[in-house]
Symmetry: C2
Subunit: 428 residues, 2 copies
Amino acid sequence: MQKSTESTDATSSLMRSIGAAAREASHALALAPRTVKDKALHAAAEAIRREAPAILAANARDVEAARATGRIASYIDRLVLDEKRVGAIAQGLEDIAALADPIGTVLADWTRPNGLRIQRVRVPIGVIGIIYESRPNVTADAGALSLKSGNAAILRGGSDSHHSSLAIHACLAEGLTAAGLPAAAIQYVETTDRDAVGHMLAGLDGAIDVIVPRGGKGLVQRVQEEARVPVFAHLEGICHTYVDAAADLDMARAVLVNAKMRRTGVCGATECLLVDRNAPDAYLPALVAALIEAGAEVRGDAAAQAADPRVKAAGPDDYGHEFLDAIIAVKTVDGVSGAIAHIARHGSQHTDAIITADEAVAQRFLSEVDSAIVLWNASTQFADGGEFGFGAEIGIATGKLHARGPVGVEQLTSFKYVVRGSGQTRPV
Amino acid sequence: MQKSTESTDATSSLMRSIGAAAREASHALALAPRTVKDKALHAAAEAIRREAPAILAANARDVEAARATGRIASYIDRLVLDEKRVGAIAQGLEDIAALADPIGTVLADWTRPNGLRIQRVRVPIGVIGIIYESRPNVTADAGALSLKSGNAAILRGGSDSHHSSLAIHACLAEGLTAAGLPAAAIQYVETTDRDAVGHMLAGLDGAIDVIVPRGGKGLVQRVQEEARVPVFAHLEGICHTYVDAAADLDMARAVLVNAKMRRTGVCGATECLLVDRNAPDAYLPALVAALIEAGAEVRGDAAAQAADPRVKAAGPDDYGHEFLDAIIAVKTVDGVSGAIAHIARHGSQHTDAIITADEAVAQRFLSEVDSAIVLWNASTQFADGGEFGFGAEIGIATGKLHARGPVGVEQLTSFKYVVRGSGQTRPV
């Protein structure tokens, strides 16, 4: 008991000082020109390439410990690094350096009748807290995206990737120093005391402006429930692909199989196929067969089961469920209205697609489905900052405030109004 | 005790049904074309002009009750309506109708190398909760701004303006009906049970997307502390005007007096004058004299007191204090660096101004002062959505997420990504 209180006090004090240092560093970062930020990123990339053996050795310790605690293969796969992955981390830093600097961009510029010139100018948010699980590359990605957008970062990785993250963070710190930026611009929370996360969610006395969780549903749920500061996140990606009666069957089949099966563990994977009840009779069997032949387990309603004997009966919980696996729910709906109603009820406002050749029907779907990303004749797996051209993303947000959809460097910024006058006073 | 529990249960149930109705109405509102929303606003304005006698009678009841409870004159002044003020409320609705419809605006539009066309399109946020005090006109303004931006509104006015707000709300409801919009698009919380506010702050089971408090510091503080949903607000407007050594004295005097004295009770009023220690000797006495002659009480540091015997000694609490009165704190600082440091320590990130003829010095101030609005050679009293050309505002926000500065119809919106393809699938 005594020990626990001491540990908590020490953690509380550590976290407060991390918060204060981050806030202090954020002022310098907000004013850092692009060249300086990019220099830090390039120097960090260089350090990561040079220190690859040390990073791999640290990672080997993490992997060994994770194996010893009986972690499953997919978990180990997210954790493990090899030379290629380390190279990709370094390349990722250079890619972020190559992005345009969002800070200082004039978003709007107008002059009032009284001669006041008003500009809306991009500025950083301030301090970003990132809480993540086993992927060590998040240390580099999240730190670099925060830096590029002029924000200080407080990184808290999972204990399973502790040594890997520390080794990568040392390279980021080296980059900051090389560029003359404060070391506190990217801090890694070194304590493995779980209370540290609670402190971050409470905002570190106002030092954290926004929290970004990266990880499984359990982590995101905890962050969303407990955070006293804004959160950019999505809890689930329950994505739908709706095949309309006016769809081209070949296109529908190709897009659907990609949307479900390209990668089944990503948040943009389609989890439910909706088929128009008025579609030609051949459509439902053809779509179901294509899914099954691509390796998916299909759980369908009566119509889907009638269309193919390999279809299992869907239970009520199969709709609105994020399988993150080679499983898909299938339902027949009454046209686009039925699809919109099903998505409103079961979706997660992440990403939903319609396949149709009818522009008016497509337009209705695009307008009425209230999701961060709505697609017409394209795979839901395009739900990704890189595919949007954002260069890199720190995650995908389903909230409607500030950031929605892929969260890239622009979404990590705020703005201010800069008003230039010549002595204007406001009339009474 | 029993009674209180019953009342709480009834309020809880009432608020849940208000939340559910607002969410339901928000779907219709999100799709309502401009003509329909404007029709509702015009019909509401017409109803307000026609029902002016009933509104004034309801207001007379409120004013009488407020006088009986001993409310002070400035409070009564905010509460009282007359024919001119009722006319202004109707005109306000028409002004909001005349604004461009923010919904559906394409904010960005680009095509990816694979042919996918991506648009970022403005959509409403959903449901706005507005909690306010004695000004009955907020009922109309807040309801209309929410409607114009395609959001459902849940309005909770102060008990002192209860009858006035109900009478105005009836006119808004008439307008909604005339346009064929759901009555739940703008709901007024009729119960005076104070628990209703707590329910709103908890978000009504996810039905409220954002809360906007309008009123004094006590209300805003409670909302910011207790709300479990995002809040657009400013707690205080501790605005500074910094007069640099390179300022034109006549301009500085005119802008400063306006910034402090045009209206002393608004959030954009300057509360502290910072004067460059290197300014010509004549500046400080001239600025202080101008303030005193305009009716201000000046509380200054040693230099200000030496400059004019009428200056009182400032206590430490006078810096960083929002007087909302004809009182100003004055401090001598070491140039623009000193001004920036003082504002970082004592300001509220609302609105701050520099008066100088030196563009480089101005640019430093505009870049480094981390406030929603920074002005060069203009009065801080321009901190207002109307003065920015937003047409109307629901308030001013000092947070950095989503809305910052004046909150007009555009700030009450979110966006979605609309992606149009021709069968694109994402490569592995």
